[in-house]
């Protein structure tokens, strides 16, 4: 189900914890699985559980608790805009509105061509760089003016 590369990445994560504490690698294993497969289906969760010697429900509990895991399919690019107060004071909400208008979708929606999903985010610990947004959970973009948003969307669309 997961590629050899993903499995060896999970193995490297396992090395960080005492041998009898494999469960500690659950979060990173789910992240790695999501990176490869785009989202976490019940089958993926069961597979990860099996690989770590855990029950599916233990792993599901983790997958459903943390916001950055996607338990339903998302577009090829997930964009999460921070709208919390410190960002909102420097344009976070306006930036989110601009992305909505450009993509023609609201928060928690995906464009009809399946390319983009938009999410509303909480504080990313980067409030001094507002507006900030995350692309596919792992890449942070700072000081997002309309021009930079245009550029970013164009680059992702290539």
């Amino acid at each position: 189900m997961l590629s050899q590369e993903s499995l060896s990445r999970i193995d490297r994560e396992l090395e960080k914890y005492p041998a009898e504490q494999k469960k500690s690698a659950t979060m990173s294993a789910l992240r790695i699985a999501q990176e490869e497969l785009g989202w976490l289906s019940d089958e993926t969760i069961a597979f990860v559980a099996d690989y770590l010697g855990l029950t599916a429900i233990e792993v599901f509990e983790v997958a459903s608790f943390y916001n950055m895991y996607d338990l339903a399919p998302v577009g090829r690019h997930k964009i999460t805009v921070c709208t919390n107060l410190p960002c909102a004071l420097s344009g976070g909400v306006h930036a989110a509105e601009y992305v909505k208008q450009k993509l023609g979708i609201d928060f928690n929606e995906t464009t009809p061509d399946g390319k983009f999903t938009l999410k509303e985010g909480e504080c990313m610990g980067a409030c001094g760089d507002a507006p900030v947004l995350l692309v596919n959970n792992h890449h942070m973009c700072s000081w997002m003016t309309p021009e930079k948003i245009d550029q970013m969307l164009a680059d992702l669309d290539k």
Binding site: K22, Y69, L85, V93, D129
Partner: protein, 439 residues
């Protein structure tokens, strides 16, 4: 007074974070001093006590005292955890420390491990800063390669290994016992205390948890002495502190200054008020800290005692600056939504109470407020405060209490007139996309 940088020192120019540059800046000298036997565990803890360093994660607990709670002779592993789960709205200093000076955290943690006899440590890094997590991993690899981590550090008898654990989007994992649960691969739900982590922590073993900036202060304290550190601040408030300034200033960003610096000086360092508008209120210690009206804030100095006298908390040192274009009801509405979203749901007063707070503030903001809503808000907060497992409940209640206390007229205006006191076009102007001169 100007900026005084101990943690972010000499990082100007290309801000290089690599091991060799850290060593050029005097890095790892403190660790050498420690593992070569020049200082005993007691000496280290004594020096940290002398420095009056207080936890930089929010609660401000004296670090040396916390370290002395760890059992001395414990058969088996003891753990150390660094809290880099920085998710308190307004706070963005730990990311800068990890991006620009990761080795100072590694060195600080290794010294702490030596002092408390910990064999393993984890740095729990906030989910949204994956790129910073990768950099920290690289820094760890450099340290291991150079014999600064792992077996027999620098040829001594002391072994300690350190790993990075990446979060994945849950504010509550910043709470120290939720953080431990999360490292264990579980939902991040806070534990009942006692037992405290020093007796029952990670995997049930004695564990000490400190904030990133707390650990980052340690190498300086050990190298230059607790006294020197203390003297940069004031009694009971030792050292420098990094303030993350966001909101309506001309240059949002991180500023490391001496504790006790007057707030107006800090404001000036951050470029002053944006567009020349007037200061309305400041949240001086992250979103959980009570808001302070402009006039009181301008008389404060930036240290635990002064901010606490003003009725708020220094917290994480996140200074959220709001000018006269801000609708205080709307500001509170966004914060209340955050706590409602992030409550882990274990305790009824927090789970239900945060929902009530958000819904009532929301209806006031949207012109549907009722005459007794302010009393209702006060009664809901009273029913949350002190009745929950962790401090998130209080963190959700304190902003509500303080906004209603200091800006009650503005709330009442919304209820009476079904609209904002601050005209919409003024609010629009003040919340536009702002790109500061620094970038």
């Amino acid at each position: 007074m100007s900026a005084k940088e101990l943690i972010l020192a000499d990082l100007d120019g290309d801000r290089t974070w690599r091991l060799q540059d850290y060593i050029k800046r005097g890095g790892y000298e403190a660790l050498k001093k420690v593992v070569s036997g020049q200082m005993s565990a007691d000496d280290i803890i004594g020096e940290v006590k002398k420095s009056a360093l207080r936890g930089r994660g929010g609660a401000g607990f004296p670090t040396g005292l916390k370290w002395s709670f760890m059992p001395r002779s414990f058969p088996g592993d003891k753990y150390l955890a660094c809290n880099s789960d920085e998710g308190e709205p307004g706070t963005f200093k730990d990311r800068d420390i990890l991006r620009y000076n990761p080795h100072t955290v590694i060195e600080g943690m290794t010294i702490a491990a030596y002092a408390m006899g910990c064999s393993r440590g984890y740095n729990y890094i906030h989910g949204e800063i994956f790129e910073t997590y990768l950099r920290f991993e690289e820094a760890l690899a450099e340290a291991r390669e150079a014999g600064l981590l792992g077996e027999k550090i620098l040829g001594s008898d002391f072994s300690f290994d350190l790993f990075a654990h990446h979060g994945y989007g849950a504010y509550i994992c910043g709470e120290e016992t939720a953080l431990l649960e999360s490292i264990e691969g579980k939902k991040g739900q806070p534990r009942f205390k006692p037992p405290f982590p020093a007796s029952f922590g990670l995997y049930g073993k004695p564990t000490t948890i400190n904030n990133t900036e707390t650990f980052a202060s340690i190498p300086f304290i050990i190298r230059d002495g607790g006294e020197t550190f203390l003297n940069y601040g004031k009694p009971n408030n030792g050292g420098t502190k990094i303030f993350s300034i966001s909101g309506h200033v001309n240059r949002p960003g991180c500023y490391e200054i001496e504790m006790g610096t007057p707030f107006p000086e800090l404001l000036e360092m951050a470029g002053g008020m944006r567009g020349g508008r007037k200061l309305k209120g400041v949240i001086p210690g992250g979103s959980s800290a009570p808001v302070v009206p402009a006039a009181i804030m301008m008389d404060c100095t930036m240290d635990y005692d002064s901010i606490s006298k003003a009725g708020s908390m220094l917290g994480s040192g996140a200074v959220i600056v709001m000018d006269e274009s801000t609708c205080m009801v709307k500001a509170l509405e966004r914060l209340s939504y955050f706590y409602f979203e992030e409550s882990c749901g274990q305790c009824t007063p927090c789970r239900e109470g945060t929902g009530w707070l958000y819904r009532v503030v929301h209806r006031i903001e949207h012109g549907k407020g009722r005459q007794d809503d302010l009393d209702l808000l006060n009664s809901v907060t009273a029913n949350i405060m002190g009745r929950t497992i962790c401090a998130l409940g209080d963190a959700a209640a304190m902003p509500v209490q303080s906004f209603v206390k200091h800006f009650g007229d503005e709330f009442q205006y919304h209820i009476d007139n079904k609209k904002c006191l601050v005209p919409p076009e003024v609010q629009y102007e003040g919340s536009k996309i702002y790109v500061g001169p620094s970038c």
